[in-house]
């Protein structure tokens, strides 16, 4: 097990290193990196001076080493819009994004799992066909368009929920969260549902496929032959088997939730790091863009690592094979 974790850690570090290289050279290929580090108001002489003082007149491999050294120390430059460390800026917005993504993930499971199970266990019923049609639509609908429709329906039309912003937050262990206030939940409901829609469709498909497969397995028939109740068979025997692929896929999809939050946060004016990224893009705040990419890559890699560990915890067969290798 320890060897397994070590190997995965090494792979993770390799990916982060590769991304550092790509980002560094990408920035250099696309434009003069000096513009990452100076504000657009400076004149040519000031820029040249800054370039010299930062070592940007040196050969590219030397610059790379400097970039790497700073990156390892957690320094990816200063935002020239906000004047703060780019990393700190991103990290300060991260809790809001993670909160949104987690609620969306939760919704995907709570809404998608029962629907998918139903569609898988009663594949011929009309309701199942309707569920599958919704899930196909969920894959086709662009996220931003669904967001607009949600605002139109629930905020403008019905007036049930607020359309924009984050609700009242409470500080827990130094992290601001809006999940402990009614106002917070009212605000998070629509954007989280918007973000969750694609994943709801995904969970429906996975759960349906899994349930259809599991329902035909002998162990389900044997469980029925033991005289177990329907709820015990579905809730324990089938669910525990289909949770393995669902947890794996959803874990890997958490990264994509964070990525798609750029769209959702912009529509619902949610103060997360996705909205920050979009602002940075429109204002060409390159240090923030670079910092965002690096933070997200680290997040992805961490999630993949966690998913592997959870996976081996869920499936006893994996645990054994990993332990024996």
């Amino acid at each position: 097990m320890a060897a397994f974790i070590l190997r995965r850690l090494a792979q993770a570090l390799f990916v982060i290193g590769a991304m550092l290289v790509i980002v560094f050279f990408g920035v250099n290929v696309v434009g003069d990196p000096i513009y990452m580090l100076v504000s657009p108001e400076m004149n040519q002489e000031q820029i040249a001076e800054t370039a010299r003082s930062l070592g940007l007149d040196r050969p590219i491999w030397e610059q790379f080493l400097i970039f790497l050294r700073n990156a390892v120390q957690g320094d990816l430059g200063r935002s020239f819009v906000h004047g703060e460390s780019a990393i700190k800026l991103i990290l300060s917005r991260m809790p809001a994004t993670l909160e949104l993504a987690l609620v969306a993930l939760f919704m995907a499971i709570v809404i998608g799992l029962p629907l998918g199970l139903y569609a898988g266990l009663k594949p011929e019923s009309k309701a199942s066909r309707a569920i599958m049609a919704i899930s196909i639509l969920g894959f086709s609908l662009p996220t931003f368009w669904v967001g607009l429709m949600l605002i139109l329906a629930f905020a403008v039309g019905l007036g049930w929920l607020p359309a924009t912003g984050r609700g009242e937050t409470v500080s827990v262990l130094g992290i601001e969260t809006s999940l402990l206030t009614v106002d917070g939940w009212q605000h998070v409901a629509l954007p989280a549902l918007n973000l969750a829609l694609l994943k709801i469709s995904l969970v429906i498909r996975l759960a349906r496929a899994g349930a259809r497969e599991a329902a035909l397995m002998d162990y389900v028939k044997f469980a029925r032959a033991k005289g177990l109740s329907q709820s015990r068979i579905i809730g324990v025997h089938i669910l525990k088997n289909i949770m393995i692929p669902i947890v794996t896929v959803l874990g890997l999809e958490f990264g994509s939730l964070v990525a798609f939050s750029v769209v959702t946060e912009t529509i619902f004016a949610w103060p997360g790091m996705g909205r920050l990224l979009l602002e940075a893009i429109t204002r060409l705040d390159r240090p923030v863009i670079v910092a965002y990419v690096m933070v997200v890559v680290v997040l992805f890699v961490t999630i993949n690592l966690l998913v592997d560990l959870v996976y081996s915890a869920l499936d006893p067969r994996v645990r054994l094979t990993e332990a024996s290798t």
Binding site: G31, S140, L152, L278, I281
Partner: protein
């Protein structure tokens, strides 16, 4: 007892009365699915409408002289100052929304088609090279493909347009970079299978050049999965372009695709002028859904192994 009086135990399918060409058989099994047929008809209509936009649109939305600010934010069915009925209403600067959508469709479809074509060409070439060259070349290419596919497309596209800037050409480049890896992976997969087949060995033993073997023999046999990928990816590209344009980092106001139209309507939505965003959105939706329906059916017809 006589053998001839035995009832048939197994049935043999009736021999076709007339030789059926593969294309005809393909078309026949495609239209068996009514929903897919509907999707195809809707998509064909959309393409025709987009192509014919200059002929059928009541107004040229690019022609500043034709647009009257007095007509701005008129609800569906209102009559424009010039006398024609604006069936879908008008936008914030007085453009007829129906005309805007027809012209917007042109741009959205063009971006989708071009990016798809280029990505397919690039991806297929790279995929074929990987499959045919093998060794280190293949490893490097496939690592790149894996890395690309592990990143969410929306994020990659965002970062790319951040670096490249706005414009039709830039957005097409970004979409190509987002899509090529899907084609490369697919083509490499089926090319590896094809390569091992006898006719390739036969072609090589005849002394045909590598290029000829690849393009005349391997490539045509990889086309079925590529067509399936192409439909799904084109729908995805159109959706992605609309998303980027909606976010204000895709196409500029001078190239009003559907995404730009929706973005322009967003600010008026809260105050009740819902149609400015809703109708272009519905057009976008119908385009994407119809392509996906066609793609789903193509997958079933072209690849029986992947039915579910």
């Amino acid at each position: 007892m006589s053998e001839t009086s035995l009832p048939p135990v197994t049935t043999t399918p009736a021999a076709p009365t007339r030789e059926e060409t593969p294309l005809r058989r393909f078309a026949r099994s495609f239209i068996e699915d009514r929903v897919a047929l509907l999707g195809l008809l809707v998509f064909a209509t959309i393409v025709l409408l987009a192509l014919a936009a200059p002929l059928i649109a009541p107004q040229n939305p690019y022609d500043l002289a034709a647009v009257d600010v007095m007509d701005s934010r008129q609800p569906p069915g209102a009559v424009a100052g010039e006398g024609f009925t604006m069936w879908l209403g008008s936008d914030g600067v007085g453009r007829d929304l129906l005309s805007g959508i027809l012209y917007g469709l042109r741009i959205s479809l063009m971006v989708g088609a071009f990016s798809g074509l280029i990505a397919a060409t690039v991806g297929m070439t790279v995929g074929l090279i990987a499959a045919y060259a093998g060794g280190k070349v293949e490893t490097v290419i496939m690592r790149l493909v894996d890395l690309q596919l592990s990143l969410p497309s929306v994020l990659v596209a965002l970062i790319l347009v951040a670096a490249l800037g706005k414009g039709v050409d830039k957005i097409i480049i970004a979409l190509v970079i987002v899509q090529w890896a899907y084609y490369a992976r697919t083509v490499r997969g089926s090319a590896l299978v094809e390569r091992r087949k006898e006719y390739v060995e036969a072609a090589q033993s005849l002394g045909l050049s590598h290029a000829r073997t690849v393009f005349r023999h391997i490539l045509p046999n990889c086309l079925a999965p590529v067509i399936v990928i192409a439909t799904v990816q084109t729908a995805h590209a159109i959706s992605l372009e609309a998303t980027l344009s909606f976010l204000g980092v895709g196409l500029p106001q001078t190239e009003p695709s559907l995404g730009v139209l929706i973005a322009n309507g967003f600010q008026y939505m809260i105050s009740g002028s819902y149609w400015i965003s809703v109708f272009p959105g519905l057009a976008l939706l119908m385009t994407i859904v119809s392509i996906n329906l066609v793609g789903d059916r193509l997958r079933d017809v072209l690849n029986p192994r992947l039915e579910k």
